[in-house]
Each structure stands twice: as structure tokens, then as C-alpha cells.
């Protein structure tokens, strides 16, 4: 009976539409959200005497942000579109932040205090070119000097007040590329200097009010320029010639142009190619030559003179005026684990205004950029602060010999994520010690009870939050029973590996990749290298970090093995061949190191680890190793198989040649591959069979070798709006990667990409755009095994006439059938993921990263091909939802609740030990982590569970028992007296 009730209850629970939902006071308990901006490109300080001190930055992640100079917090920030790279940033009129983006074609003004966009102006541009933003520094706020912008062959003057284009000059016909715009203070004439075809220097004098050319001078320089330019004063610039060996000073006093050539070899002996560094110093320029930085002073008549030279590892800031016509600049160089910050006067390099030495973390690498700002101390002397950008993209503020604040901006460009376990808890430390006394414990629970009954005052709510965070012990650095505490390993584009704690998102350790072959390898991907499970339990788990020296795919790779517990590098090797694909094999050696194959550009594969044991394991499975490559450009998918050891030229027994086994060629005139996807290799499937409502069995076709491919017509590969429904069609394929057999093909007429898909168990869900309905659509395809469908008869099973014990092989031709269904979806999607649990029993949820940078949890039951318009009673009991034409967006099922994961790029899920719960980590410019229970936490009590109420009930019950006992005894006594 009890079992029946339990089953009924289960049925009842499963038929309910379980949505992720959270009370407002639960926000931040299991989740955390971190805001980043990315690697800073430009920084402009705004440190007026009144108001908050801030710095405006623009970054490589297309973010414009205002940071608090005191604490480094973000006042406001805006993430521009992915194609809207910021070219320049400035402050106009003391109240607007001006950004120039999209190669000089979009100019926007943002309100400085709150970041509200004030105006936006589209500027005409004819072609792609370098762009230039020049915001006048006007000392008188009432006078409106125009902002001058050059981009795409046009020079524009834009009013800073309302963004109106005052005038524009079309230079496209002349091929004139503006290099510098100089605006002498208080003058309405601006000087526009540029090159025509990099061989002719042209100076225009333009009236900035009306845009009329007052004067124009040009002069041909026979050698040609290299395009690197440094303006040293209001009437002189210095450029390099095309051979990078002669410095040319161009003077344009009163509109006359004069050239003055100085070979670099006159300045430095044995000089190679020179390079003009970007910092703008007054009457001086910094040139990098022979791996040293030399400072060249530019005299009154354009005479060049070397005044100082520094080691190569020096970063410099632009010069900025300090008192009495003096200009100063900051330089930072490394010495061991310390960095030295020096501020010198430009005119007197021996006069060091400031010399500070700061201890610096080795794992930040070298200094990339320095931005300097000065302030007046109380004793009227100059104080300096420097904002520095490190090699790992972190941003630090240095002031008075200390790091005032730092931001780990590397985490804004995460490229790959994996999870790792924490060390097992040692004896002597137990979670119970967190609860001090029974009284405090009870008090805490009474508080919680008050909270859940809405009787709590605001102070109580704060106390409850603190208590919850404290009592959960979620921030400890040891493993817990439920597997809630884990490490998230995130590899960033800068080649730094971070370990984040799931409890609060803090950085447990971080490590910068290093290599002998190149200065700084890029991080590509992360793999689980060694996960001690049964054997080698004394070893710490480790991960394999694959990096590359340079951005080209043929660049040599770098492998690093990192201990997960300590964050120390175990070994690192320059492998000498390129890395195209890394294939983790399903074999481990006796120390539980996983075997990996790395394919290079030449068509060879290399086995790692390079041990004889690994080799013998590999040799045993030599015939059974297959893999595939996707050529998105030529539309061919190729299957490969091992052939033999690499022949003669390299005596490397861990190198193997391969041969092509099959190819799937898509006709290039009608189909273009836009998306491919496989199942996660470590996914757990709980059951192969699926029971229908009519007691029918369906066998899932669960194969690790299925590849989902989506192709569109070449015309439809562009953006929405560029193609009509008749011209575009979308075709999806399911391909077996062992044999190259196409198991299923489905075509959608009048549809186009982008396709975002997720593949799990025996189903694929993908999102695309339907041009006819002009709506997004989501389609689910489930694939079932037909060959085993006959095994339903009990007698067959008993008599052994079934084929369940027949080996399943990927070589045979599988008999499969598919079911599919499509729905509308009301939002654009950036990425889709699926929850994963330890045993795969819990029902699954799709995690849809929307274009609004939120993550929506959608139950898999909403995308079930068995949904019908009017489900029968039996189907309803099974939990089949009536068919609707569009998928619901329930606001409470946003797992990110009131946060946005700006610039969302990917979602990673990992199982916890508790079957009901899964870890979800989303990364983009921001990071977000939460724990999800797709079918609610059926295997543990929730945080809300009111122990106090339970206790009170027990006390009440005990009291009631005693009262009844007393009463009954009394009654018995009176009866005896009778």
C-alpha cells in the first residue's frame, strides 16, 4: 500500500511542470555572479576636484566602462555588439564619454555619471581603414569645439553637445589617410596631417567651424613611409620610412612642409629595423631598436638626439603636463619579482619625480600598458597614480608604492572550462563545528522560520543571509558529501589558468602558461589528464592544458600538466608539432593518466603520455581508433583511421600516420556547413529503454559516434534579412562517425542559421530561424533503435529469443527511426547546453543562453516529439504536456534571475555527487555559477527545510503524550476507586 501511495506521489510530482524558481532572499545562496570588462585598450582619467574620481576604459571585449578609482568597482558599463570594436575613447565637455567604434563609423556619447547614452551618430565611411578620434581638450566648457573623427576616407567634425555632424570632408578620391589631427589651443584652425599612398605627406589647414580648407600643402617623399607615426609637438611629427631605417621629421610650421631625414644608424650603432612606440611624449619619441627602447629628443630644427636608452621590457605611458610647462611620463620595468615604476620629466630625464618598487605576482607576467594620472597632494606637490595592464590582462592601480586594487580581467575571455574535485577532508575538521551551541543553532532556525513566515524584519533578513552562508560551510577547500564544492578550472585567452571555488567564486589559484619556444602561448583547451579513482590514489588529479605559440593553427603547440590541488605546474613541454585536434581516448594507464591523441596539420597523430605502457595499451586498440575532421570551408567531413607508425624521417615511435576511411561531401553550390556537434563523451545515460504510455518499449539509439551536422544554402549563411525564404534552406544530418553513414537527414525549407544545438543521449535540439514565419524555431530529433524494437514479448525474453545480448557494433548498419517536432521560440539564442547529473536519472533541462545574456532553464518535456494537441489521460499521467506552437518563457525559470551574463559565450554543466543536482557555469564577459536541481532536490532536504518547526512539532507531540498519559492514569485511578 505504502509503495502504491509513494508511486502515486511520484507520478503526481513528475506530472507537475517543474520550473526552476527562487525566492528573492535565496538569491546568492547557491549562485554567484562576477562582472568583468576585459583587457583594457584605452583609459581616460576623470579626476576633477569635485565628484567621484573615475577612469573611463574601453576594452578588447568591446566594453566601455567607468571604474571607481578608489576601489576599482564598476560604476557603469556597456557591452557593445561583437562587430562594434571600440577604436577610441575620450571625454568631451567634461560630462560626456565619447566612443568611436566600428572602424570609425559609429560615434556615441554616454553620460559620464550614469552611463546613459546621450546621442549616437552614424558617420559615412567608404572603405575599411584605420580610424582616428580627436576630442578637443577644452578648458572653457562653454565653448564647443567640435570632435574630429577620421574613418573610412571621410573626415567629420561632430558637435559634442548633440552629435550633429557639422561638416564632413570626403578624402576617398585622393586616397588621403589621416594620421594626426592637431588642434592648437584657442585656435579655430585645425591641422590635419596624413599620407597619400604612404609616399606623399599632406597637411590641410581646415577651419574647424565651417570645414573649409584654408590651406593645403603636400610633398612627395621618395622612399615612402611605413605608416608608424609619432607626433612630438604641435608642429612636428616623426615617421619611419618604408625600410624602417630612417626617421623622418616632418615639420609644418605655418603650413610649410619640411622633411628632415635621420638614419637610425646615426643614433644607434648596428641598428636593425626600428619601430616607433605608441606613447606620445612631448618633443620626444620612443623608438624600439635592437631590442632596446631609446628616447630620441627632437630639437627645434628637427634635429634628433638620443638622450636615454632602456631595456626592452619597459612599458611607458603618454606624457602629461605637470606644473610649469613641464611634461612627465611613467615607465615600468621588471626586475625579478618586483616592478619599478618611475615618473620622469620629459625634458630632464635625470629628474626622477617618483621611484617606486612594488612586489608583483609572477603569474601576472609582464606589464603591457601604463596609463598615468597626476593629482595635487595637500602640500601642493604632484602625486602620481598609474593604471597598469598586465600580460594576463589584469588591471591594477598603483599609488604610493602599493597596489591599491586589482581586477582579474583575464576572466572576461575564457576559452575553455572544466571542473575538478577538491581534496578529501582530513580528520579533525568537521562541518559540525560550525554550529557552536545548541542555543545558537536553535536561534538560527527560529530566525529562518521567521523568514519563511514573512515575519522577519530587515535586520533579521540580513542575519538570516549571513547565517545561511556561514552554516552551509560552502566555502571550505575540501570535498563535501554532496559534491557541491568543486573547482572550476577556466583557461583564458591570455594563457592563464584559474581555479575558481564553486562556493563563492573566489580564485583559489592561478597559473600563467610558460614556454621555452615562445614568449607567451595562447590557451586553447583543457582536458582531464589524471583523475585518480581506483588506482594511484596518492596522486593529485591533474589537467592537461593545450596551448599554442601564436594564433595560426600551424604554430607549434605547448602542453602543460597542472596539479589541480596546488595549481603548480608538474611538467610542460614544447611538443614541436602543431595542434589541430586533441582526442581523449577511453583508456587510462596504471596511474590513471588518460591517453590522448593529438592530430597535427601534416596528418600525423601523436600519442601522449609518451610512455611505453601507454604505447602498449594503444597498440592493443590500434585498429579500433577512429576519428573525423570537419572541413567547414570545402564542405567535406572525413573519417580517419590509424595506418602505421611514422616512417623514417622522425624516429618517433609515438607518432602515427593515418589514412582516410570515408568522406561525406556536401555540394558546395547548395550546402554550407555551419554547425557540427557531438555528445559530451563523459555523459551518463541511465536507461536505454523508454516506456510508452501503451506499455510499449522504445529503445534509444545511444551511440557515442553520432555527429550532428547542419548546413544552409550559401546565400542563407549571412545575416537575417539578407535572404528571402525561397533562397534559403537548412538541412540537418545525423552521421555515424565510424562508417560515415548518414543515419538521418531532415530539411527545413525557408529556414536559415545561425544554428545552435545541443546533443544528449539519443536526442538533438537545435535552434534556427524560420524565414517564412519570421520567427525562431526549435526542433527536437529523437533517434530510436529499430532492430531491438521486437524484444517486447515476455516469452521471447524468457525463451532467450531476443537479440539483447547480441554485441552492438558500430560497423553494422543500424536500423533506426526518428521522431521529431518543431516549436516556435520567441528569442534569439547565443548558446544551448543541457544539465548533466551523476547517474543520468534526473530529468534533463535545456539551458538556453538568450541574446539578452540570460539563461533560461527549459524542461526537456517541452521539447518531446510525443507531445500532441490532446494527450490522452494515460499520456497526461506520464507527464506529456499538451502541444503548443511555441515554447513558454517563464520568467521564474531564468537561472540567472536578475543578473545578466554580459557577452555570454558558453555554458558548462557538471554533475555533483547528489543525483538531483548539477553545477552550471556560464562564461562570457561576466561569470555566473549556480546549482540546479531539474526535478527539485528529491534526494535531500532543501535549505528552506524548517528544523525548528520539526522540533516544535516533536516537542508538542511529546508534551501531548505526557498529558494524555497523565490524564489516562488519573482516569484509571478514579476508575479503580470506584
Amino acid at each position: 500500500m505504502a509503495i502504491r501511495v509513494f508511486l502515486l506521489l511520484l507520478l503526481f510530482l513528475s506530472s507537475a511542470i517543474v520550473s526552476f524558481s527562487l525566492y528573492e532572499d535565496q538569491a546568492g545562496l547557491a549562485d554567484w555572479h562576477q562582472r568583468y570588462i576585459g583587457k583594457v585598450k584605452h583609459a581616460v582619467f576623470h579626476t576633477q576636484k569635485t565628484g567621484r574620481k573615475r577612469v573611463i576604459v574601453s576594452t578588447e571585449e568591446n566594453v566601455v566602462a567607468s571604474l571607481d578609482l578608489r576601489h576599482g568597482e564598476i560604476f557603469w558599463r556597456h557591452v557593445l555588439g561583437t562587430k562594434d570594436a571600440i577604436d577610441g575613447v575620450g571625454i568631451a565637455l567634461g560630462k560626456y564619454v565619447i566612443t568611436l567604434s566600428s572602424e570609425g563609423s559609429t560615434l556615441r556619447a554616454w553620460n559620464l555619471p550614469d552611463g546613459q547614452m546621450v546621442w549616437e551618430t552614424a558617420l559615412s565611411s567608404a572603405h575599411h581603414s584605420k580610424s582616428l578620434l580627436s576630442v578637443p581638450i577644452n578648458l572653457k566648457v562653454d565653448k564647443d569645439y567640435p570632435i574630429t573623427v577620421f574613418g573610412g576616407g571621410y573626415l567629420h567634425a561632430v558637435s559634442a553637445i548633440d552629435g550633429e555632424v557639422l561638416w564632413e570632408k570626403d578624402f576617398t578620391a585622393e586616397g588621403f589617410e589621416v594620421q594626426r589631427v592637431l588642434q592648437p589651443l584657442g585656435s579655430t584652425v585645425i591641422y590635419v596631417l596624413g599620407f597619400v599612398n604612404l609616399s606623399e605627406a599632406v597637411v590641410y589647414q581646415i577651419d574647424s567651424k565651417i570645414g573649409e580648407v584654408v590651406a593645403q600643402k603636400s610633398m612627395v617623399f621618395p622612399g615612402g613611409f611605413s605608416g608608424e607615426i609619432s607626433s612630438v609637438s604641435s608642429d612636428k611629427v616623426v615617421v619611419l620610412d618604408s625600410k624602417k631605417s630612417i626617421l623622418v621629421t616632418i615639420g609644418f610650421i605655418d603650413g610649410d612642409i619640411s622633411f628632415q631625414k635621420t638614419p637610425v644608424s646615426d643614433l644607434v650603432e648596428n641598428s636593425g629595423n626600428a619601430e616607433i612606440l605608441s606613447p606620445l611624449l612631448s618633443n620626444m619619441l620612443a623608438v624600439k631598436v635592437n631590442k632596446r627602447t631609446i628616447f630620441v629628443k627632437v630639437g627645434g630644427e628637427g634635429k634628433l638626439e638620443v638622450v636615454d636608452s632602456l631595456s626592452d621590457e619597459t612599458a611607458m605611458s603618454d606624457s602629461l603636463p605637470v606644473a610649469d610647462d613641464q611634461e612627465a611620463f611613467a615607465s615600468v620595468h621588471h626586475e625579478g619579482s618586483k616592478i619599478h615604476l618611475m615618473v620622469k620629466l620629459v625634458n630632464e630625464l635625470d629628474n626622477v619625480l617618483l621611484r617606486e618598487t612594488i612586489q608583483m605576482d609572477q603569474h601576472r607576467g609582464r606589464v603591457h600598458k601604463v596609463f598615468m594620472n597626476n593629482y595635487i597632494r595637500t602640500d601642493r606637490s604632484n602625486g602620481f597614480r598609474a593604471l597598469i595592464v598586465m600580460e594576463d590582462h589584469s588591471l591594477l592601480l598603483l599609488q604610493q608604492g602599493a597596489i591599491v586594487w586589482s581586477r582579474e580581467e583575464g576572466l572576461a575571455s575564457v576559452t575553455d572550462v572544466t571542473t575538478a574535485e577538491l581534496p578529501v577532508e582530513k580528520d579533525g575538521v568537521s562541518v559540525a563545528k560550525v554550529e557552536h551551541t545548541l542555543f545558537e543553532w536553535l536561534k538560527g532556525h527560529v530566525l529562518k522560520l521567521k523568514g519563511s513566515l514573512l515575519l522577519a524584519s530587515p535586520e533579521d533578513v540580513v542575519a538570516i543571509q549571513e547565517l545561511r552562508v556561514k552554516s552551509s560551510g560552502k566555502n571550505k577547500l575540501t570535498r563535501d558529501h554532496n559534491g557541491f564544492r568543486k573547482l572550476i578550472l577556466a583557461l583564458t585567452r591570455a594563457g592563464k589558468l584559474f581555479a575558481l571555488h564553486t562556493g563563492d567564486g573566489r580564485i583559489v589559484w592561478s597559473m600563467l602558461l610558460k614556454s621555452q619556444a615562445c614568449e607567451r602561448p595562447n590557451g586553447i583547451s583543457l582536458y582531464q589528464w589524471q583523475v585518480p579513482h581506483h588506482h594511484a590514489m596518492d596522486k593529485n588529479p591533474s589537467v592537461l592544458v593545450v596551448g599554442r605559440c601564436g594564433s595560426d593553427s600551424s604554430a607549434p603547440g605547448v602542453l602543460s600538466f597542472v596539479d589541480v590541488y596546488t595549481g603548480k605546474k608538474i611538467t610542460s613541454s614544447d611538443i614541436g608539432h602543431s595542434v589541430v585536434q586533441v582526442l581523449p581516448l577511453p583508456f587510462t594507464d596504471s596511474t590513471e593518466q588518460r591517453l590522448h591523441l593529438i592530430a597535427d596539420t601534416v596528418g600525423h597523430v601523436h600519442l601522449y603520455p609518451k610512455t611505453s605502457e601507454a604505447l602498449s595499451i594503444f597498440q592493443r586498440e590500434f585498429q579500433n581508433i577512429y576519428w573525423y575532421t570537419v572541413g567547414a570551408d570545402d564542405g567535406i567531413i572525413r573519417g580517419h583511421v590509424m595506418k602505421s607508425s611514422c616512417s623514417g624521417e622522425t624516429a618517433d615511435e609515438y607518432c602515427f600516420t593515418t589514412r582516410e576511411l570515408w568522406t561525406v561531401v556536401f555540394p558546395s553550390e547548395s550546402e554550407k556547413i555551419i554547425s557540427t556537434l557531438t555528445r559530451k563523451p563523459n555523459e551518463v545515460v541511465h536507461t536505454q529503454a523508454k516506456v510508452n504510455t501503451d506499455q510499449d518499449l522504445l529503445y534509444k539509439y545511444v551511440s557515442r559516434n553520432l555527429l550532428f551536422v547542419a548546413t544552409v544554402s550559401p546565400k542563407g549563411a549571412g545575416e537575417i534579412g539578407s535572404v528571402t525564404p525561397e533562397e534559403s534552406s537548412l538541412v540537418v544530418y545525423l552521421i555515424d562517425t565510424i562508417t560515415g553513414r548518414i543515419l538521418h537527414r531532415l530539411s527545413h525549407q525557408g529556414c536559415q542559421g545561425p544554428v545552435h544545438a545541443v546533443f544528449s543521449e539519443n536526442w538533438v535540439v537545435y535552434h534556427y530561424f524560420n524565414l517564412r514565419a519570421h520567427k525562431y524555431e526549435v526542433t527536437v530529433v529523437e533517434i530510436y533503435d529499430q532492430s531491438r524494437a521486437e524484444n517486447k514479448n515476455v516469452w521471447k525474453l524468457i525463451l532467450g529469443k531476443h537479440n539483447l545480448t547480441a554485441p552492438i557494433t558500430s560497423y553494422s548498419r543500424p536500423e533506426v527511426f526518428t521522431k521529431s517536432q518543431s516549436y516556435f521560440f520567441a528569442q534569439s539564442v547565443k548558446t544551448i547546453a543541457v544539465t548533466s547529473t551523476a547517474k543520468g536519472i534526473t530529468s534533463k533541462q535545456l539551458l538556453i543562453g538568450t541574446i539578452g545574456d540570460q539563461i533560461l532553464a527549459l524542461d526537456k518535456r517541452f521539447v518531446d516529439p510525443r507531445r500532441t494537441l490532446n494527450p490522452s489521460q494515460a499520456e497526461k499521467e506520464e507527464g506529456i504536456i499538451p502541444l503548443t506552437d511555441s515554447l513558454p518563457i517563464i520568467p521564474q525559470s531564468y537561472v540567472t534571475h536578475s543578473h545578466r551574463v554580459e557577452g555570454l559565450k558558453g555554458i558548462v554543466t557538471a554533475p555533483s555527487k547528489l543525483e538531483s543536482t548539477t553545477h552550471v557555469f556560464a562564461y562570457g564577459v561576466d561569470l555566473f555559477y549556480t546549482r540546479l536541481a531539474p526535478s527539485k532536490t528529491y534526494d535531500s532536504l532543501t535549505d528552506d527545510f524548517s528544523y525548528a518547526l520539526l522540533l516544535i512539532t516533536i516537542v508538542a507531540l511529546v508534551a501531548a503524550i505526557y498529558i494524555t498519559w497523565a490524564l489516562s492514569e488519573k482516569k484509571e485511578l478514579s476508575e479503580k476507586w470506584r
Binding site: 503526481f12 510530482l13 507537475a16 520550473s19 524558481s21 527562487l22 525566492y23 528573492e24 532572499d25 538569491a27 557603469w76 556597456h78 555588439g81 561583437t82 562587430k83 562594434d84 563609423s105 559609429t106 552611463g115 546613459q116 546621450v118 546621442w119 549616437e120 552614424a122 559615412s124 519563511s452 513566515l453 514573512l454 515575519l455 545575416e719 537575417i720 534579412g721 539578407s722 528571402t724 530561424f769 519570421h774 520567427k775 520567441a826 528569442q827 534569439s828 541574446i851 539578452g852 518563457i889 517563464i890 520568467p891 521564474q892 531564468y894 534571475h897 536578475s898 545578466r900 520539526l950 512539532t953 507531540l957 501531548a960 503524550i961 494524555t964 498519559w965 490524564l967 489516562s968 492514569e969
Partner: protein, 207 residues
């Protein structure tokens, strides 16, 4: 189970709150200096001043997205937005604001009529005469805590247990009283003879 029911009812509540005033207009301002086939789409986002949730309608956090991320723009203080250099064709505009749900808008930019624009809400299939985008419904990301309620406590498993105890303690004696004393006695004797332990004998202090 309970929160689920609540969420659906809330949803229904929101739907009721939608003001059924939707008017859209897409201006047709072709770029005068640009090339022939690129146009400008100008529109406006309007959020009702007072909403169910009371989210401060901050324009600075609202993004307007063309064609699923091809262009992203922001709102001016007066709520206007502009997409420049849009080619003729059928486009999709989406508005993202925390706390609100906006329907995507299908926008047809006509090449024949110099960038004349027609807009339709894809969710409700309502065509717009003026480009004023209003939220379809506000979004509440959190469950609402139900106010303190005696019935909720009484319905909880523990409440039921307490209730059952109360029944046993106070109503059972009443029931016992109604039984005929002789019948009662005979029943008690029967129980004693069978050795069924009474409540008193179960407790250690009953001796």
C-alpha cells in the same frame, strides 16, 4: 508543487495586466548621403511609468538588437533608438530589458518605396503603424513569498500531525464517553485478558 501553481497563476495575472495598447511605427528616413540601398530604422521604446513590479525603468540597461546580434544599439534618454545603414529586406528587431518581455518585431524595409518600413509583432501578429515598442508583459524573476497564513501551516505535514494529535487528545475522550460503560468494561477486560498493552503500560513511569 505549490510554487508551480503559484507561478502559473502569476503568469496569468501578468497577462491580465498587459495594456492592450500596441502601436508601432517605423520611420522611413533613408540616409541622404549613403548608398542607395541602405536605410535607417528609427523607433522608440516606451515602458509604462508604473508597473506591477516597480522595476525602475532604466533606459541605460536596455539593448535593442537587430537580426540576432548583427547590430546592437542603446536607447537615448527619450527612448528613441536608430539603426543605420540597414539594407532593404525583412529584418528582426528585439528589445532586451531586465524585468520586461518584449515581442520580437518583424521589420520590412522596402527598396521600392525608398526605405518605407512596415513592422509587425511576431508574437501577437499585430502590425504596427508607429514604431513605439512597449513590453508585452513585465517579468518577475523571483517567486513571491506568500504572506503568513494559518492555513498554509495547517496544511503542512507537521501541521497535519499536530492536528491529528489534537483530535486524538480532545475528541477521542469525547467519543469514549459516548460508549456505554458496560460495553467499555467488557472491552477493557477483553483487552486485559488478551494482554494488549494500554497506553499507560507503555510508558516507563506507569508502574
Amino acid at each position: 508543487m505549490a510554487p508551480i501553481l503559484r507561478s502559473t497563476s502569476l503568469l496569468a495575472l501578468f497577462v491580465c495586466h498587459i495594456s492592450l495598447f500596441f502601436c508601432f511605427f517605423v520611420s522611413n528616413l533613408p540616409i541622404s548621403s549613403g548608398s542607395e540601398d541602405s536605410y535607417t530604422i528609427t523607433g522608440r521604446v516606451r515602458i509604462p511609468a508604473s508597473t506591477v513590479i516597480g522595476h525602475a525603468a532604466k533606459f541605460s540597461n536596455i539593448k535593442v538588437i537587430l537580426n540576432g546580434g548583427q547590430n546592437v544599439t542603446f536607447l537615448r534618454p527619450d527612448g528613441y533608438f536608430t539603426f543605420h545603414k540597414v539594407p532593404a529586406g525583412t529584418h528582426l528587431i528585439e528589445v532586451y530589458a531586465m524585468g520586461y518581455f518584449f515581442s520580437p518585431v518583424r521589420v520590412d524595409v522596402s527598396a521600392r518605396h525608398h526605405g518605407k518600413v512596415q513592422a509587425t509583432l511576431t508574437e501577437t501578429r499585430r502590425s504596427l503603424t508607429e514604431l513605439v515598442l512597449e513590453p508585452l508583459r513585465p517579468e518577475q524573476y523571483y517567486e513571491m513569498r506568500e504572506p503568513f497564513n494559518v492555513m498554509a501551516i495547517a496544511k503542512s505535514p507537521m501541521g497535519l500531525m499536530v492536528g491529528f494529535m489534537v483530535v486524538v487528545v480532545f475528541l477521542m475522550p469525547k467519543l469514549m464517553e459516548n460508549i456505554d460503560p458496560e460495553e467499555m468494561k467488557s472491552a477493557q477486560e477483553q483487552m486485559r485478558s488478551q494482554g494488549v498493552p494500554s497506553l499507560t503500560s507503555l510508558l516507563p513511569a506507569s508502574r
